[in-house]
């Protein structure tokens, strides 16, 4: 799913004023891009390229929903003739482009790739993912809460991307990373080859962005540290102000837990897969009524353990991309960065 090894990256440039034309030319695709409505910036299907808001650091909700929708209909069951039943599966052949996705969010999807199309291949995810082209936009103005460089990412990371665009003034520098990306470049004639001067500017932009992220957390120490901290009093202390809502997990680009339910309506049934959050008590409740994670400290611990230990145990990389959303949007200002720091020093 990630960039094929055989492909050699090629560099192009596109004039900023040509971007709208480029997007208009992609009429076969559903294009998702950041759109600002009032004070909220979200990835939305765009009809009018002028509405795209690329100036913001990042959207409120991560764009993972394009490949892992919050509500996915897995099948529908309806009554046919004479007590027979009819089962309809969704057709997932819509071709999507995620335009302007930040490298952290693209890394988030690269993490989901390992979960949903690794040993077990989830047919819904695999299909959606194969039909999705990701055009990344290198981050030039990281937010205070960003910490991608501490968790193996970078403001110009190419993980999961088909193209990486970089704002270099009047132009976007376009690094094409996969065949899927190359196809788009070839379909349109708007791109021209990058000059060595373009490359120099691009490198400078990337370097400046790197320098803006001054804080380096020792997140790499966590998988080992956490081995002995399961019963630590720290969790009681740090979770006291947690409300137990799921905003951190629902906005997160790497959280992928889901629940499956059958929804009835008259004589029809729909099986849906929805996001679930380990911060809810219903997440772990047993049918006996026993809940192995009864309190918010248990649930918050699980969130940190999953991202910094369990995921690492299984995939040998951290399950966090450092986008900082869980800090920015937490109603009580829970600070994951501080948690990482404190745990690393234990």
């Amino acid at each position: 799913m990630t960039s094929s090894n055989s492909f050699k990256a090629e560099n192009f440039v596109i004039k900023k004023e040509d971007v709208a034309q480029f997007l208009k030319g992609l009429s076969d695709y559903t294009i998702y891009a950041p759109v600002q409505e009032e004070d909220t910036v979200l990835f939305k299907v765009i009809q009018n390229p002028d509405k795209i808001a690329l100036h913001i650091t990042n959207t409120v909700k991560s764009p993972k929903f394009v490949v892992l929708p919050q509500t996915e209909t897995m099948l529908k069951v309806t009554k046919g003739k004479e007590n027979s039943i009819k089962i309809d599966e969704p057709v997932l052949d819509e071709k999507n482009i995620l335009f302007g996705i930040r490298p952290c969010d693209a890394r988030g999807i690269a993490i989901l790739d390992k979960v949903f199309s690794g040993d077990y291949k989830d047919p819904y995810y695999v299909k959606r993912r194969a039909n999705t082209i990701m055009i990344g936009l290198a981050c030039t103005d990281p937010h205070r809460n960003c910490f991608c460089t501490s968790v193996g990412g970078a403001p110009d990371s190419t993980d999961g991307l088909d193209m990486l665009w970089t704002d270099i003034g009047d132009l976007y520098f376009v690094t094409v990373l996969t065949k899927k990306g190359m196809k788009l470049v070839k379909e349109t004639v708007i791109f021209s080859k990058a000059t060595s001067e373009n490359t120099r500017v691009m490198n400078k932009v990337h370097k400046t962005a790197h320098e803006k992220i001054t804080e380096k957390l020792n997140a790499d120490a966590l998988p080992k540290k956490l081995e002995n901290l399961f019963e630590d009093k720290y969790w009681d202390e740090v979770s006291m102000k947690c409300l137990g809502c799921g905003s951190c997990t629902y906005l997160c680009p790497t959280c992928y837990c889901f629940d499956i339910n059958d929804i009835e309506y008259r004589d029809k049934v729909k099986r849906v897969r929805t996001w679930d959050s380990c911060q809810f008590s219903s997440y772990t409740i047993h049918t006996s009524g026993h809940n192995p994670r009864p309190n918010k400290e248990n649930r918050m611990r699980n969130r940190v353990y999953h991202k910094y230990k369990y995921h690492h145990d299984n995939y040998n990389e951290l399950g966090c991309v450092g986008c900082g959303r869980c800090i920015t949007y937490c109603p009580v200002d829970m600070n994951l960065k501080a948690t990482i720091k404190e745990l690393a020093e234990k």
Partner: protein, 349 residues
């Protein structure tokens, strides 16, 4: 450090030192200079973390019920000492509501009241600073002072003045309860604020034709991701099991398998306009006569749904129809467990 802040710290220190309270709930500096965050002070030597300034937005009253929901660990004993808590005027209404519902009792809490002249909305503050080319990334220090109609914000040593309505929480503009209704000790001078609630924003929506109202609300609720932040941040949403989490509804050893299987899924997990609407309407019904309009749900919502337009509507109707106001009187009976002979009934055939 202001006098108020110092006095709060000193009092909290005393209560912690002599073991009167198990912990003190107040505010400390947050993840960035634009935010404060709730803090739980357990040791007397930690009291200097406590801050009091116009960035102290959170309503802390809801935390009083958190311990009651907690399942004790093996061998852990419940600490029955009271909790010390800092409340502003509006927060004290939530506290009164909790007391009137006997969710907490008066002897379980020691109340530090602070008259409040308005608090800052961090989102608005971030926006006005951005307009002055001050990105949150570059702010190392920030202090706010209140002087009548304006706030003076000192950022990295430089002073800026902003009119109140530009950066204050919108709930503060028509606050009728700036002074704590109930407190064991009050810190600071009493404050005079508005005498009357302003329902202009609600009336604007009421005036829209039906189809437009529906368009407005269905668009808003389409944004909802059902993270439950609005419910969980609400100080009077304290139930251990919530009707919208059907998987959570009480199961005992006596519950039969068919009862479990046939449990009514009031709210389905799928996120779509119908379910979202159901969630918010149900929440509102449970808030009737209990919501004191502290605005926490709206503040907590990551998707910026204007939830206070709903809670304000509720407050307005409850006042108009039943002349009832939540969170004013500890002895008050709950709105929906009393009635008057002449309650409005003209909608009934």
């Amino acid at each position: 450090m202001s006098d108020i802040e110092g006095n709060i710290q000193a009092k909290a220190k005393k209560l912690l030192k002599d073991g009167t309270i198990k912990y003190f709930i107040g505010y400390e500096n947050g993840s960035d200079p634009l935010h404060t965050t709730p803090c739980f002070i357990k040791k007397a030597e930690d009291v200097d973390k406590i801050v009091w300034n116009p960035l102290c937005v959170n309503n802390l009253a809801g935390y009083l019920t958190h311990d009651k929901k907690r399942e004790l660990k093996k061998g852990e004993e419940e600490d029955k000492k009271p909790i010390g808590i800092l409340v502003k005027g509006c927060d004290s209404k939530s506290l009164v509501q909790l007391l009137s519902e006997h969710r907490i009792e008066k002897d379980e809490v020691i109340i530090f009241g602070v008259p409040c002249d308005g608090v800052i909305d961090p989102k608005k503050l971030e926006k006005v600073l951005k307009d002055k080319n001050l990105s949150v990334n570059t702010i190392d220090s920030l202090t706010i002072q209140h002087d009548g109609k304006n706030y003076t914000v000192k950022v990295n040593g430089k002073k800026y003045s902003f009119p109140k309505d530009k950066i204050e929480m919108s709930k503060c503009s028509d606050c009728t309860q700036p002074n704590p209704i109930i407190s064991d000790e009050t810190f600071g001078e009493k404050v005079k604020k508005s005498d009357k609630k302003d329902y202009k924003t609600v009336e604007e929506i009421e005036a829209l034709p039906l189809a437009k109202r529906w368009k407005f609300w269905s668009d808003q609720f389409a944004k909802c991701i059902r993270c439950s932040a609005c419910r969980n941040v609400c100080p009077v949403c304290y139930c251990k099991e919530c009707v919208v989490d059907s998987a959570d509804l009480v199961i005992t050893p006596q519950t039969t398998s068919s009862e479990k299987a046939n449990k009514m899924p009031w709210l389905e997990k799928n996120v779509d306009p119908a379910e979202n609407m159901f969630f918010h309407l149900t929440r509102m019904m449970h808030m009737a006569g209990r919501c004191i309009n502290c605005g926490e749900c709206e503040r907590a919502c990551p998707m910026n749904i204007p939830l206070s337009l709903l809670t304000k509507k509720l407050e307005k109707e409850v006042k108009e129809m039943f002349d009832y106001e939540a969170g004013i009187d500890v002895e008050a009976k709950p709105l929906l467990s009393i009635f008057e002979e002449d309650d409005p009934g003209d909608f009934i055939k």
